[in-house]
Amino acid sequence: MLRLTGAGRRFVNGTIAFADIDMRIDAGEFVVLLGPSGCGKSTLLRLLAGLDVPDTGTIVWNDGTPPAPGDIGFVFQDATLLPWASAEQNVHLPLRLAGKSFSETRNEVRATIAQLGLAGFEDAKPASLSGGMKMRVSIARALVSRPRLLLMDEPFAALDEFTRHRLQDDLHALWREARTTVVFVTHSIYETAYLASRILVMTPRPGRIAAEIPCPLPDPADRRTDPAYASLTAQVTETLRAVMPA
């Protein structure tokens, strides 16, 4: 789908977020970027989204056309909803910005809301929703425009463990069904092993891709308790240990 070659980003204050990153994202993958705080993961996602540009290197989209509005869905660490708008209006926002009225897109909006398990909460304002539900609205908003690429920046980091597990389950189910290409940033080894179809491990700043772990986890009924999941987390842990400076 896209290829990054020799990409580097250095801020005006001299901070080098990452340097010399080569990576390829194929259609239908669930790529997890795993790395310590400050290694440039967010900056890298912003670059993939076109919100930032690399100082060195190139980013090439396979079909030659850079993404148009709506081609990329972005989920931030916080839900970042419009507090004055209802859940439904928040989900409708990307379509509205593309000039499509609510009445002509009602079915898509409602279907996406239902897909994220939010049916019945269409009119709720963010202030009355729990953290997990707000994140569901945020994911629905990212998916409503049927993006080619879904970028997620530690979306579940602020949630409690129970809510996090349910959202991971639902996200995984959604991905298996739709095979939207996802690049997902996290600090969590368990989250990584549970969600990824391929793992990229980054070094501390300036971030580089230090290791790549393909992970064709089988799809048993319960991934979390599957022995393959345990051995994958062990493998990721060992890789991190090898990559991180003492």
Binding site: R46, G50, F74, D78, L82, W84, L97, P126, S145
Partner: protein, 254 residues
């Protein structure tokens, strides 16, 4: 707030009034030095038509100035948010107007604007617009960066970003500025009336206060002052309720 807390300021005020009345009566303080509350109420009752008409005149100036300040503050803040050149051009002049005492420029304005009501409104607007401007400008500058990114990502144009994101995000700031502007507009109106009174225009409460001063009608002076204080408190409370109602309606209240 418990009911005791709610009742506390009223009880405190009543005790204060009682002590005041007691001291004035027992020490035989003459009313032309310090009238007691009963004398003030009596003075108000004798002269209530003229006092209330003056209050209305002052409130009309205040209300017009508040509307003008809200519009002016909002428009200038929008211009400052839209262009850096506009920001650079406007900011120092806004500060100049803010730091210049309105008593000092009121005579000029009253000469230039030769319609009395309009002149008073201009003076009061100059006093009141600054908090609206600075608050709204701060609100427009405080758009959450991630939401701004989201709008960019979805190809939002400037108009969409302004109306769907920046303006609604600035609303709580604007309303907080408006509440301050309300009481400042009253202060500005009265100050301008004092200046205008010396030129013979005396429709507002300031006219009554000066008049009572000349005639040593101190209880009447206190009655006018009391009306003024009550008007200020009412404006502040009313704008506070308005602010809360709008924010609740808008779902933006935290």
């Amino acid at each position: 707030m418990t009911s005791v807390e709610r009742a506390a300021p009223i009880a405190f005020g009543l005790i204060g009034l009682g002590l005041w009345q007691g001291a004035v009566s027992s020490l035989h303080v003459p009313v032309y030095v310090l009238p007691g509350p009963t004398a003030i109420v009596a003075a108000f009752w004798i002269d209530h038509t003229s006092l209330l008409i003056s209050l209305l005149s002052t409130l009309a100036v205040t209300a017009a100035a508040l509307v003008a300040a809200a519009l002016l503050g909002m428009i200038l803040a929008l211009a400052m948010a839209a262009s850096r050149v506009a920001r650079a051009a406007i900011q120092p002049w806004a500060v100049v107007l803010q730091v210049t005492p309105v008593v000092a420029i009121a005579p000029l304005i009253i000469i230039w604007v030769n319609q009395q009501f309009a002149a008073l409104v201009v003076c009061a607007t100059i006093v009141a617009f600054f908090p609206v401007l600075s608050n709204t400008a701060a609100g427009l500058a405080a758009t959450p960066p991630e939401l701004a990114d989201l709008f960019r990502l979805n190809g939002a144009n400037r108009r969409q970003t302004l109306f769907l994101l920046r303006l609604p995000a600035a609303l709580p700031y604007f309303l907080a500025g408006l509440r301050i502007a309300g009481t400042l507009a009253l202060v500005g109106a009265v100050v301008a009336e004092f200046v205008a009174s010396s030129g013979g225009f005396a429709a507002g409460l300031a006219g009554r206060i000066l008049e009572a001063g000349y005639r040593l009608e101190i209880p009447r002076m206190f009655a006018a002052l009391t009306l003024l204080a009550l008007a200020g408190i009412t404006i502040y409370a009313a704008l506070g309720s308005f602010e809360r109602a709008v924010l609740r309606r808008f779902g933006a209240a935290s």
